[in-house]
């Protein structure tokens, strides 16, 4: 084989892979489109055939397995479920490596093939977010309690729990028979339920569930769950089928290119099980309540002065902390699960815009709470789009400015204390403060005489309606996006920072809390009210020097080991009447790179802060990010450190800027 021929094949391959990817992506949204399925099959077949002809036997063997599955999809034996498409995309991504003869040290290819073989063997691949079409055979169960069931002590919640234990999913309540309030009979249960059950559930098992209750129940063992009462497929958190339906372990399950595939099976030792996300949510809720009760118990024990009770309470505190940590770890999902789609996005955009970009990812294994991960996808898509669309220059522009032809976009994720830092960095043209300032003025976001540092100017891009793009592309530039990004990140109790150097690139850093449910808190008191500060952001606590007790006109600063730290008087901030005691403390908190001191009357102690969201009515209260319930049952507000630090900086920025100039 000559190099020429090989080059021809590679060129053909590139086109085929493009077509294949397009087909697979389309198939995701139109899984029953036979035209698409045929096209995907044809592409695969051609890759295999040409590959074998040009001597790429490893490639041909690999594709063969892949093609066999699609043949069955084409024949209608296997539906083109999300799992197949995901595996197929992962397999597709392996093809260039196979052609180049790259080794596969971590067995990715074998894992993909193993998963494909499972599907072929008719082994149901449990699917999160399944479109049901691809799900395993399911049975349908409907039931309704008859007679005065509730008066007799029947508990539908217990029944549902038992059914869930058998693997019931997609449980839907039928409330059509619920009468008006005036005719509601508290003794009868007017709600019926329907659900999908794994096919393996026997009649006897169901009889056992309904042993003690008068219920009409219908078990339809073969019907596919496509009825109108099945929930909409876009249901954000559908309960994935449980372990009972999980496929048997595969021989090789090392890091698979498509992570959900790995998650969807028990590992080789059977040490991993799948659990519906809603159960984890339920567990987290229970743990939250437990932590609140535990705080109450500790308080009662302390008051009682009973050593035995105090010892027990302390043991419970330890256990609750362990339980909390385990539960939170169970909810952690690696960033990897997000990154796959970004690779494709970057690739597509770079192709579309003619800007060659290399996308590198660092820290894919960094884990975050699943709720955070879910909400992070859209903001990161926006930021990446902006980076390529606005940040990146074309190859020609790059060459003109002496940069390499290919731009670099780096997504990195790393833990920093109780926070996760996610950074999108590019080596593009950078942001021009003068241009942003002019735009912001033109759009009426700032006044002509507003004095702003570059860092402050950069944050203007997060203002609603801001856009520097001179033309609106289909990708970005409509001025929606970055403000939404900021809102989303803030709703996750995170913060955003932009750094940029003209001509050198931009980096956007997201700081996110590890978890949204329970945090370690520092309880403080201001004018008789208690507040909680996230312990992770507390740096140190110092005494307020006597000469600083009166506010200074030039702004309040503390000298912390030679560095000036601005501080805020919470009493003044919260408009508290009365005088503080003689000894006030200053809690130094940090957000991002910046520190600010908070003057408080008293430090109460640490506590487990179970975060409760504030109502919509409090959305405009910026200094507070949530509330928590204390051991004595009272409510303490959780202070929003990022916002307070921002206030501290805003109040002192002119002075700080002046000092910088002087220095």
């Amino acid at each position: 084989m000559t190099d020429d021929m090989s080059a021809i094949f590679r060129e053909e391959l590139r086109d085929l892979l493009e077509s294949l990817e397009r087909g697979l992506l389309d198939l995701k949204s139109r899984p029953t489109d036979t035209g698409l399925i045929n096209q995907v099959f044809r592409d695969l077949h051609t890759v295999k055939g040409s590959g074998a002809m040009f001597g790429f036997t490893a490639l041909a063997a690999f594709i063969h397995e892949f093609e066999t599955v699609f043949d069955r999809v084409r024949a209608g034996v296997i539906p083109a479920g999300q799992e197949i498409v995901r595996l197929a995309l992962a397999a597709k991504d392996e093809i260039p490596g196979l052609v180049d003869g790259d080794p596969d040290p971590d067995g990715r290819r074998e894992a993909i093939l193993g998963a494909l073989r499972d599907i072929m063997a008719g082994q149901p691949v449990a699917e999160a977010g399944a479109e049901d079409l691809a799900g395993p055979p399911l049975a349908r169960l409907r039931f309704r309690l008859t007679g005065a069931a509730l008066a007799m002590g029947a508990r539908p919640d217990i029944l549902l729990e038992e059914l869930r234990g058998l693997g019931a999913a997609h449980i839907v309540a039928d409330v059509s028979a619920v009468p008006g309030l005036d005719r509601l009979d508290v003794d009868t249960c007017a709600i019926g339920w329907s659900m999908d059950l794994p096919a393996g559930v026997t009649f006897a098992q169901l009889e056992d569930v309904f042993l003690f209750v008068d219920a009409d129940w219908q078990h339809d063992p073969v019907k596919a769950p496509t009825g109108a009462d099945a929930p909409a497929p876009q249901d954000p958190t559908p309960a994935p089928p449980v372990a009972a339906m999980a496929p048997p372990p595969v021989e090789t399950a090392p890091s698979v290119a498509a992570p959900p595939a790995r998650d969807s099976r028990a590992d080789a030792a059977g040490a991993t099980i799948r659990v519906p996300a809603e159960r984890l949510d339920g567990l987290m809720d229970s743990v939250g309540e437990l932590v609140i009760l535990e705080a109450r118990l500790t308080e009662l024990a302390r008051e009682s002065r009973d050593p035995a009770l105090i010892a027990t309470a302390e043991q419970i505190t330890r256990l609750a902390a362990g339980l909390r940590d385990t539960t939170m770890t169970m909810r952690m999902v690696p960033m990897r699960s997000l990154v796959g789609r970004f690779r494709r996005l970057v690739l597509d955009l770079s192709d579309k815009l003619g800007k060659p970009v290399e996308f590198s990812v660092i820290g894919e294994d960094t884990e975050l709470d699943k709720t955070v991960i879910e909400k992070l996808a859209d903001p990161l898509v926006h930021i990446l789009r902006n980076a390529i669309d606005h940040g990146m220059e074309t190859a020609a522009e790059r060459a003109a400015s002496g940069k390499g032809g290919t731009g670099l976009i780096e997504l990195s994720a790393a833990h920093a204390g109780a926070e996760v830092l996610i950074r999108v960095r590019d080596d593009g043209r950078g942001m021009d403060p003068a241009r942003i300032r002019a735009k912001a003025m033109a759009q009426g976001l700032i006044a002509a005489d507003t004095v702003l540092t570059d860092a402050q100017i950069f944050t203007l891009v997060f203002e609603p309606g801001f856009s520097t793009a001179d033309r609106v592309t289909e990708l970005s530039g409509r001025g929606v996006g970055m403000d939404v990004v900021r809102r989303t990140i803030e709703s996750l109790r995170g913060s955003l920072e932009i750094e940029s150097r003209l001509g050198e690139g931009t980096s956007v850093t997201l700081r996110l809390p590890l978890t949204l449910a329970i945090i370690e808190g520092l309880l403080i008191e201001v004018a008789g009210e208690r507040y909680t500060l996230p312990m992770a952001s507390v740096q140190e606590i110092v005494e307020l020097p006597p000469e600083k007790t009166q506010p200074k006109r030039t702004g309040d600063f503390l000298d912390i080991r030679g560095r000036f730290v601005p501080f805020l008087r919470l009493r003044a901030l919260f408009d508290c009447a009365g005088q503080p005691g003689p000894a006030q403390n200053v809690v130094i908190v940090m957000s991002g790179e910046h520190r600010v001191g908070l003057v408080v009357d008293r430090i109460v102690g640490t506590n487990q802060t179970v975060i409760k969201q504030m109502s919509k009515l409090h959305a405009s209260v910026r200094a507070v990010s949530g509330a928590t319930i204390l051991g004595d049952g009272s409510v303490a507000l959780i202070l929003d450190v990022a916002h307070l630090v921002g206030m501290g900086r805003a109040q002192t920025e002119p002075q700080a800027a002046a000092r910088e100039v002087a220095a």
Partner: protein, 121 residues
């Protein structure tokens, strides 16, 4: 929170066996010696479940259940009937009276716990 189970039986040994089994599993158990006593105890304090014998002096199991269900405070409490025979007629009568479940004597401690967990969750 600890759940309270009322056991109504004229046989002290059965009552003790029920009480020991359930207490070991973390339930609080109240005992009553017959239907009359059971009615008094079930209505004077909150109970989460009741296990009652059928054949008892003064007021039998079915009578006890009917009387209890007529009282608004006695609605909604799951009641399990103990019987020595598994005749469907008795089961039907018990259901009619307002019992949720039944258990045939003799029973093992495991079976008792399983039944209580089934009705109490």
């Amino acid at each position: 929170m600890q759940k309270t189970v009322l056991t109504v039986d004229d046989s002290p040994s059965i009552r003790r066996m029920v009480a020991l089994t359930l207490e070991e599993a973390g339930y609080t158990v109240i005992e009553a010696v017959d239907g009359q006593d059971g009615l008094k105890k079930a209505l004077s304090q909150p109970v989460d479940a009741i296990i009652t014998d059928q054949n008892m002096p003064n007021l039998d199991g079915l009578g006890f259940i009917r009387a209890l269900r007529q009282n608004p405070a006695g609605k909604g409490v799951p009641i399990v009937v103990l019987s020595t025979d598994s005749e469907d007629v008795l089961k039907a009568q018990a259901r009619e009276a307002g019992a949720l479940g039944w258990m045939v004597k003799p029973f093992t401690q495991d079976k008792l716990l399983a039944v209580i967990r089934k009705v109490l969750g």
